[in-house]
Amino acid sequence: MSSESVRQGLISFLPNLRAFAIALCGDADRADDLVQDTMLKAWNSLDTFQEGTNLRAWLFTILRNTYFSECRRRRREVPDDGGEYVAQLCVPPAQHGCVDAQDVLRALGQLTDDQREALILVGAEGFAYEEAANICGCAVGTIKSRVNRARTRLSDLLGSDAQDFGPEPATEAVLLRASGSKLA
């Protein structure tokens, strides 16, 4: 019988698991299957989970292990064929102009699996390096190295667009005119 805290944890971490799965595999349908498998495995293994320990990390470990097992089974890499990676994501269309979510997720798809998962766990989910290392089953130094390389690679991929932070030129012009009229 699961405790109330575990039950609440399973409910509250579902969006995080799904976001991680989508960012990891780049395919919303595949991500949903991954999350479904993870929830079933977690549910069937609840007796192995120690109350009071990090439930979120435990769930993420199950998901990433499931993902890599599936990858080995499929024996192929994450596809990125002409935007197909992005086309299958559940991200609403972004406004024209700046670096948007689709650009970032497209760039994520061009990282290696281990770099992508490390960057998402530490950079996006906010896990500590030690937690991420436990999830990935590697040393802390390895995680730090992967995160640094991933960040550098992402910077290179988005570098030319990364300068365009903030409102697009048309909006910025309106804002400037508005601030100018207040000062006059």
Binding site: R7, I11, R18, A19, D32, L89, V91, V104, G123, A162
Partner: protein
């Protein structure tokens, strides 16, 4: 003014303090290189932090995306099954 040959002292004219705030002497070239490297590192760090911010924003969109019904139902069914057992 040739590098490493002359000494240039800068004073803060706004301050009452007569002591120079910066002295460029024989180490001018290496100090400039150090400064350039520091600036470059700071810019790279800033860009790297901006990239991580963009990653978080993109990830937040995934977090807030609508949850498919079948996943929500799966969890609800598992919890309900446990309640009934």
């Amino acid at each position: 003014m040739p590098r490493g040959k002359a000494s240039v002292q800068l004073y803060d004219t706004r301050s009452q303090n007569a002591a120079p705030i910066a002295v460029h002497g024989n180490n001018c070239a290496s100090e400039e290189v150090k400064r350039d490297c520091a600036l470059e590192a700071a810019e790279e760090t800033e860009l790297s932090e901006q990239i991580v911010d963009q990653l978080r924003m993109a990830y937040d969109e995934l977090l807030n995306a609508p949850m498919p019904d079948h996943l929500q139902k799966l969890l609800t069914n598992l919890l309900d099954r446990e309640d009934k057992s």
